[in-house]
Subunit: 214 residues, 2 copies
Amino acid sequence: MRISELSRRAGVPLSAVKYYQREGLLPEGVRSAPNQVDYGDAHVHRVRLIRALLETGGLSVAATKDVIAALDAEDAPLAETFRVAQHAMATPRTADSTPSDAARQRIATFARSQGWEVTDDNPGIDAAARALDGLRAIGFEAPDSYLGAYAAAAATVAAADLRALSSLATPDQVAELMVVGTILGDPLFAGLRRLAQQDVTRTLFPTDAKRAPS
Amino acid sequence: MRISELSRRAGVPLSAVKYYQREGLLPEGVRSAPNQVDYGDAHVHRVRLIRALLETGGLSVAATKDVIAALDAEDAPLAETFRVAQHAMATPRTADSTPSDAARQRIATFARSQGWEVTDDNPGIDAAARALDGLRAIGFEAPDSYLGAYAAAAATVAAADLRALSSLATPDQVAELMVVGTILGDPLFAGLRRLAQQDVTRTLFPTDAKRAPS
């Protein structure tokens, strides 16, 4: 198919498809005539995958490239593919936003107190520790019961992710869902959390209470 | 205090403090002499808040501005402050990433089947629907049991957030934690999820199984 049909079938604008190609995310098609390049079903699948990672997952182009390279390395151990997906988080990590040692320590200790076997280079430690630091910056010292509720929720979701992986037939499908599910599980959860929040916080402002005067 | 001490006390680089000021996120200090501007404790608090939203929360400058304006509007109903925080999600929403109607419908129906009272403009519907579309793009049709596990986790976290809010003394503290907790709860959860994932997926590749040949 031509690139215009690739765009149509993937449901992604032509300008975006060309952008993916310029950024080296999408392999070239096959030149079938001096003025014509042909694309196949694998390209349609790849365009949809890139879009999901970049736009829904909020990954950078560089992170998307890493994830796709890991998926394409077919002889790589699944554990390595998974490691790349885990590190490709959408949260920005600028040079000066290193979390405090105290927060890192608390998260690592807390994870182990849940019986989780985790390594010190798991990027979740820094992500969660930065959030603790941010909450502390406004004067909220998250109690253990608060962290515990978040950890229980995380365990529920991780178990559901694992069950979904176990339901798949081929190792390639497992690798792809492992990567995409790790990344898109974040906005899926964040969206459902906004919905659950709206429900529980109805009780907080039953009469549209004003904040001031207190 | 001078701006250099403001930077030191907030634990944020001077260049970042000046950037916040240029972007209109941080109010001016008080000019105490022709060549000197004084800052107070409120500025330290504000710099920390801005940093938490921008860097840990991953918000854009525009979204951070909206959130801060909502916090500063002291006579606004809490429900309105909350609505602004709910809409200030870090996930990018580009013009061409509208979720499918089928996915939106499924999320809205699913939320109501959980007994949640939600409105159609809740931004969580689009965020979760886009994630479903992304999973579908790689051929994974999330079953109800998968969505149900994510929804149960979201309800657990929303209840913990509510308990944390109920523990606070003043309406201003409630407003601030409502906003910052809504935004930083996402990376806190995402981080703990990475840790829980590492634990449960150990069972998936006990011997560093290769993907190919399958």
